[in-house]
Symmetry: C2
Amino acid sequence: MAVQTVASTTNSGNAANGGNTVDLGPATALSCRECGHRVPLGPVFACEECFGPLEIAYDFSGHDAEELRKRIEAGPSNIWRYAPLLPVPADVADKPNINPGWTRLVKADNLARELGVTGGLYVKDDSGNPTHSFKDRVVAQALEAARAFGFTTLSCSSTGNLAGAVGAAAARAGFRSCVFIPHDLEQGKIVMAAVYGGDLVGIEGNYDDVNRFCSELIGDPAGEGWGFVNVNLRPYYAEGSKTLAYEICEQLGWRLPDQLVVPIASGSQLTKIDKGLRELIELGLVEDRPYKIFGAQAEGCSPVSTAYKAGHDVVRPQKPDTIAKSLAIGNPADGPYVLDIARRTGGAVEDVDDGQIVDAIRLLARTEGIFAETAGGVTVGVTKKLIEAGVLDPSLTTVVLNTGDGLKTLDAVAGTGLTATIRPNLDSFREAGLA
Amino acid sequence: MAVQTVASTTNSGNAANGGNTVDLGPATALSCRECGHRVPLGPVFACEECFGPLEIAYDFSGHDAEELRKRIEAGPSNIWRYAPLLPVPADVADKPNINPGWTRLVKADNLARELGVTGGLYVKDDSGNPTHSFKDRVVAQALEAARAFGFTTLSCSSTGNLAGAVGAAAARAGFRSCVFIPHDLEQGKIVMAAVYGGDLVGIEGNYDDVNRFCSELIGDPAGEGWGFVNVNLRPYYAEGSKTLAYEICEQLGWRLPDQLVVPIASGSQLTKIDKGLRELIELGLVEDRPYKIFGAQAEGCSPVSTAYKAGHDVVRPQKPDTIAKSLAIGNPADGPYVLDIARRTGGAVEDVDDGQIVDAIRLLARTEGIFAETAGGVTVGVTKKLIEAGVLDPSLTTVVLNTGDGLKTLDAVAGTGLTATIRPNLDSFREAGLA
């Protein structure tokens, strides 16, 4: 693998630094989430002992909370303000990357009124990222790992948002990109991904076939030097979601929200938001008090919600059938961890149907002027449902995530049209009852 | 008009404050750009003496440069950090608005290499605004004026970006919105504007018919209480473009760029960027040194470029025929002022054809991962052309504006497609020459 041929400029892979050959800031090792087995930082994602998922272990010792808070506040208006808490080199902000994050946290008073929330309702609007989805956060992270490991091609399997994020980041950073998608994807989505000039390869088959092919390519000499952001770089990639937790707390004035509503696709984002919140507590950057995390799914792909309601610890795969395509993962890898977190924090997992998703997109647009992707319809719809069911407490501070942009899922609200058609004169205007 | 019925909470329309009945911060009057005649702040846009355009006059006295700079830097991550320099009340950041701005200034080293720029090339990427175009800046400004004047409906004529910006801002601020568009607009654009839930009215006719109807409505009792952002609120609306100048200089470390490339539709944006730069110099926020402003048009709608090249002071109207629809104003109101500024600062006005626009969109995406609207293709294309012609100096710091989002003009690059289609196996991958 490429990592073995790359010597770090700052350390030499000796025992003192855990055998690492790369400098990824506070990251010290990959640690198995199941058995705790540790290996040096490298482009691997599964534990050699138990096949469990690997995640980043850090050394955050030596930070003074007040000093760290000031350093963060003086940092750039993007995720690199949190570089001391991420698996990236200290000078990351000077390298070419897509630099996402520091998206707005909107105090949604109109939506709060409609939903009866009195404790403060906020929408974290990630449509403001460079390619207009939260995927820019995780790809930016994977890109830094790819650079450290000496990869020269950035790759992924995708059905939409991720393809654009990888294409854009690779272009900016001077990597080759080669993205694999099902060959019969809608033309609009192909254009959004292809415009960045990388290779965009259609695979004759469905998304599962694309995934299988990517796994094959990683093990083959043809895939040497390739970083698949959501496969062999997954432990680094996933950490990007922690920045959502950091930003939300900083934007609330270094305060934990009481309740968060987070969408579930693979479940990785939700687990990393929880990880980010716990880190802020441990570092003394926020006061330690309880928070609840609620997971949101579409009814047409609700394996985690189904397991939660049935009281199961295991998630049974489903065949997705929903308009929320960016959440349509039928066999979510982090499903069991999501169940743990929802139960441990006193949250819940709920789902809404396609009609409720569309209604929620319209509700958010009408009340706050935010045009969300279907995934945002899922979180807003689930928030409404959980309040009506008495599960979510309207007297507490609540943050709802919108992770994507309505412009990418226009079909969901395609029925929206003109209020009236009139002739260009005042009589016609009055007749239409518009005055 | 509504203004006459509204009493300000902070002053009473007496002679001491120039007869103003509203508090719009440092704004003191409306002043005619042609004859200098002054009238109190109100929802008017043309001089009663000479029919010249009215613009905002300010009182910026009493500012200490260092103090003002610090106050701005401590402000919110949106245009309201510049509230002391805008026609808005001091507490504007506490009111519900769309809060655009503080978009990223991307150091475009890859693009610089391709174009041979050695002095530093930057792209100001306004696709990061809430509805993904610079229009959010001007609408946010108009909204504050509408609030001050007691208007309850926000309106405009539009063929695209502006409709969405008005719909979103009105929704957020609790205004009714009523936007007028040609009835045969593409369905996608209708959805983007209608999703915010305001009235969206199709007019049987072309854009000129829509405009004429709006002028009629302003003069009629049926239009009472209506703020047309780009008509009776135009002097306030236009000031929003100053924030582009402020942000660029602050993001450069409180420094003027040597050269700016700005798109021309009505020409208002370019004239207000010049106004903003001059204000920063006068206030001592940046060092006073020369800058050049270059205007960019599409060949299919190039009335200002044509006049510039012919050495004329007057702009002859054209019938637009270009893919850069957001710039397709055949009779640009501020054309003569643009000519003045280009000549005074040592800049120029140039145009590129539709093919060059598409090439430039691809060039920017391929080099910097920024997917621009056709208007961004115009500025990048003109930059390239001006460098090749020896007009733009590649050894100087240059800022190019991208004012909109590629997702809104997908048709322009619709030909972009798959690199290859393969079967899901390594043999097929190798045969396609992708390894």
